[in-house]
């Protein structure tokens, strides 16, 4: 975990720095009190920077003195799965968000169910598109038809 601590610490230091830069740019307001709108954000950025630096130092010290406890790959997989597959899931999700406003809810959500099911290991058969279409129809029925909550209509807006 020491290597991950160092990486996380460096990442958080960068976040703290960027956040601090934007906090410094918060405009002063005539309604401001003694602290101002940028007061708490600046304090948070400094605190995060200090804590992140301590993570880096602690992890670095553990690595340098060979006290870093090695990660058990099997335990790690049970805890966090596989990062590559997680990244692919994120891409599938992002694809859904990019397409849903154009293609509309029903088609895109059916495509999402089908893509995720295939990616997670279901074998291809006629059942896959059938389950995806059924799932999309169930969700549309619950949200749009029964609860009256609209979902993105996409290009079909004029037709519905």
């Amino acid at each position: 975990m020491a290597y991950r601590d160092v990486a996380a610490g460096i990442g958080l230091m960068i976040v703290a720095f960027i956040y601090w830069r934007f906090a410094s740019a918060i405009p002063l307001s005539p309604l401001d009190d003694t602290i101002g709108a940028g007061g708490l954000p600046t304090t948070l950025a400094i605190l995060l920077g200090i804590l992140a630096a301590s993570l880096v130092l602690r992890g670095g010290w553990q690595i340098a003195t060979s006290r870093a406890v090695p990660i058990d790959p099997e335990k790690d997989r049970r805890r966090v799965g596989l990062p590559g597959r997680a990244a692919t899931m994120v891409l599938i999700g992002a694809g859904y968000l990019l397409l849903v406003s154009t293609l509309g809810y029903v088609i895109t959500v059916a495509a999402l169910i089908m893509t995720v099911a295939l990616f997670l290991g279901i074998g291809w058969s006629w059942r896959v598109p059938a389950v995806a279409a059924g799932g999309a129809a169930v969700l549309w029925l619950i949200f749009v038809f029964i609860l009256g909550i609209p979902q993105p209509p996409g290009l079909w807006e004029g037709l519905l």
Partner: protein
């Protein structure tokens, strides 16, 4: 007598009873699906509560928590895959009983012990919550600020992982809470001229992302779970059997009360402590691990006791003890109900409606446990890829329902990535969620206090309640640092002695 009247009115003038029954059903189903824990089920339901009246919305979430704790034991007993982390203790003896052809008996014991624990928990909740409401008069803006700081310190230091990581997560939560209009001057912060960000990032979106999406990302890299089979008909235990387990029931509910009232402890610790102590005090300790009925009763009573007692710090002080109660806290905030001592005087109908709803939920659990079991087993036996795909679709659909904007879905996805990264690097979730929920309270009361004192920070020491709470927070941080250093020293000594032995 007033409280009983308010409870009756809340239950009869709102659909809270239906919300309680629906919550238990959905909770059992959600808890029974490995990977979809109580908190994820609650996060999925959170968007639906926006359109409900506050009492029904909060009762729905709390009842889901109740149902999920029993639901989690179904796959734990049948396929040795706990649906919730707290059900892992019940899997030890429950699965042994299943292998011996006594799975139905184990499910019955789990159900009855859960109902017993839940009822004990509600009694404690009602008894403790009322006196705590009298503390309301002591709270001034400095005290509210100090309460927020203490809450964040408690959760950051007691959550899994190191305290430094806990505090980092809390600060990230506070940082997200600063996005949008400044609570005092109205100046825009971190909005980048995006109109969607001007009112801030709704905590509900971050919670759905951090809990549900990150779990789906983890599940994407994990193998499918086993299929449930064998004896799956519930057999309720006789009164004589439960009488034999009275000591285990007592131990379970004791730890449920104790751990539930302690912020940051949660159901998992309570159930494992109950299991260990039940074995220590049992007349037949040798049966533990080989299908002991006490080994199921103690952790299951403890889990369900926590579902009620964890609400004590949540609704009294705004400090949730677990991920599930953090979502409940988010539900309260969403309905404009500020958690804390004043909640009892400002919204007694919601609070007493919640108590009544929990009673209904626990009693309803007995018949619903029978009715929902078959659909649960059917769902558990469905291919995991379909279930995960459907849950992802449900997350996006539910999140879109909040404000009908795709921008919200990007926030959910980003929060999911953040949640995954936090898990990957061993950071706890709860401090982040709490920082997000308490951010407004901490900042606005801090600045309000300084306005009162014309910028003098001594106000936090002059106010006795604030000084006491801040003192407790500092003490907690020092104790945590000392504990961490001692643990590191012990681990180093163990490593050195093992390498010397090699």
């Amino acid at each position: 007598m007033d409280a009983l009247g308010i409870t009756w009115q809340a239950l009869t003038t709102t659909p809270a009873v239906f919300a309680a029954i629906g919550g238990v059903v959905l909770g059992i189903i959600g808890g029974a699906l490995p990977g979809i824990s109580a908190s994820i089920t609650m996060a999925l339901l959170l968007p639906f509560t926006i359109g409900m009246d506050p009492t029904s919305g909060i009762v729905l979430l709390a009842s889901t928590y109740v149902g999920a704790e029993y639901g989690g034991s179904i796959p734990a007993i049948l396929i040795r895959t706990p649906g919730t982390s707290a059900a892992a203790a019940a899997a030890i003896d429950g699965y042994e009983m299943q292998k011996q052809g006594r799975g139905g008996e184990a499910l019955g014991l789990s159900l009855v012990a859960g109902v017993y624990g839940g009822l004990v928990g509600i009694i404690v909740l009602v008894l403790l919550a009322e006196p705590l409401s009298r503390v309301a008069l002591l709270f001034t803006p400095p005290a509210y600020f100090a309460l927020g700081v203490l809450g964040l310190s408690v959760i950051a230091t007691l959550s899994e992982g190191s305290a430094v990581k806990g505090f980092c997560a809390a600060i990230i939560g506070l940082m997200i809470a600063t996005i949008g209009a400044d609570p005092m001057s109205g100046a825009m912060r971190f909005t980048f001229d995006r109109p969607e960000l001007m009112s801030g990032i709704p905590p509900i979106l971050v919670m759905v992302g951090v809990f549900a999406i990150s779990e789906l990302l983890v599940q994407a890299g994990q193998p499918a779970w086993a299929k449930a089979g064998g004896d799956t008909r519930i057999k309720l235990p006789s009164f004589g059997t439960m009488w034999k387990c009275r000591r285990a029931l007592g131990i379970g509910s004791f730890f449920g009360v104790f751990e539930g009232c302690m912020p940051g402890a949660g159901t998992s610790i309570a159930s494992f402590m109950s299991y260990n102590e039940a074995r220590r005090w049992s007349d037949k300790p040798e049966e533990f691990g080989h299908g002991s009925i006490e080994g199921i009763v103690a952790p299951e009573a403890s889990n369900n006791t926590v579902t009620a007692t964890a609400l004590v710090p949540t609704i009294s002080f705004g400090i949730p003890g677990s991920n599930s109660t953090a979502i409940l806290l988010g539900g309260l905030l969403m309905h404009g109900l500020t958690p804390g001592p004043l909640l009892f005087t400002k919204a007694p109908d919601v609070i007493y409606g919640l108590f009544g709803g929990l009673f209904v939920a626990n009693f309803a659990q007995l018949p619903l446990g029978f009715l929902v079991l078959t659909p649960c087993i059917w769902l558990v036996n469905r291919p995991k890829p379909y279930l995960m795909a459907f849950v992802l679709a449900l997350v996006f659909t539910g999140a879109y329902s909040i404000d009908n904007t795709i921008f919200d879905l990007w926030i959910v996805l980003a929060a999911g990535i953040l949640g995954y990264l936090l898990r990957f690097c061993g950071f706890p979730f709860l401090p982040l969620v709490l920082g997000l929920l308490l951010g407004y309270m901490v900042e606005s009361n801090y600045r309000r206090s300084l306005l009162i004192s014309s910028g003098d920070h001594m106000i936090f020491l002059q106010d006795a309640t604030a000084a006491g709470l801040l003192g407790a927070a500092v003490l907690l941080v020092f104790i945590s640092m000392w504990r961490n250093m001692r643990q590191a020293k012990r681990a180093r000594q163990e490593q050195e002695s093992s390498s010397a032995a090699d």
